[in-house]
Symmetry: C2
Subunit: 153 residues, 2 copies
């Protein structure tokens, strides 16, 4: 088996949305409940995928996508973790088809993300992890932050 990586492209719009919805579905939400988010996400993503603000990679096995990862460079106030830079890398929509898990594919995608960040000179990166994903990220050196959130109803 040869698994190849390619950059995400404009025609991946629907597939990225599907990966995102399935990723959240695995955290215990129904896909039906997630649909409104997915619709809004697709509308949000489309121009950013077109202009390259959202980028990333797909892994393919014999031409079939079996995993994907998205990435953005976000503007952020200079911070002790990146004192001279107002940019952070943000990684999202990491998804591996269930039958291809535990074979290092997410790790391979994360290596591509790190490589790109280094090329861009962005040294600090963030993601939000599912419970299932945390052990992988920890093994790569990622640690928790002090982020807190609230939903004002």
């Amino acid at each position: 088996m040869t698994i190849t990586a390619r950059a995400v492209a404009k025609h991946d719009l629907k597939l990225i949305c599907e990966h995102r919805e399935r990723m959240f579905a695995e955290s215990g939400r129904t896909r039906e409940a997630l649909r409104p988010m997915t619709v809004a996400f697709e509308r949000w993503l489309s121009p950013l995928l077109d202009d390259g603000s959202y980028f990333g990679w797909m892994l393919e096995d014999a031409g079939v996508v079996i995993a994907g990862l998205g990435m953005m460079v976000i503007d952020w106030p200079p911070h002790p973790s990146h004192p001279a830079d107002h940019r952070r890398a943000y990684i999202l929509n990491v998804f591996v088809e269930p039958e291809h898990r535990r074979r290092g594919l997410a790790r391979r995608l994360m290596a591509l993300a790190e490589e790109r960040a280094r090329e861009l000179g962005v040294g600090y990166a963030l993601l939000h992890s599912t419970r299932q994903g945390r052990p992988l990220y920890e093994s790569l050196g990622w640690g928790p932050t002090s982020e807190m959130a609230i939903r004002w109803e």
Copy 2:
């Protein structure tokens, strides 16, 4: 004693930077080590304070600023926590002069932030808490997120 709130203004640039530096200094960093961050932050903040992208409040006691809070509306992928919206509120640089702590001033600033978020129709908000700040935020209903970070050296 009458403590009054006012919106942050362009002339608060240096004061906001000082609040930020002192806030981080209280997390165990020296002010000297923080200076490069503060310099970059000031350069980053200046245009955003001018155009109102960075906003917030100062609390004054007899015309002297004794506390401050900053806020931004950031663009973010629609997410299950805000499925139809691509915005999040971000709160930063919460600072209360040490001799005025434990009098509800941070709570008062947080109420102003929540009020503004509601006016803007932004229902989901984030911050990064210091250890000292966490109990207050928890008492207001804030909870931890799954954010993880890495610094690629």
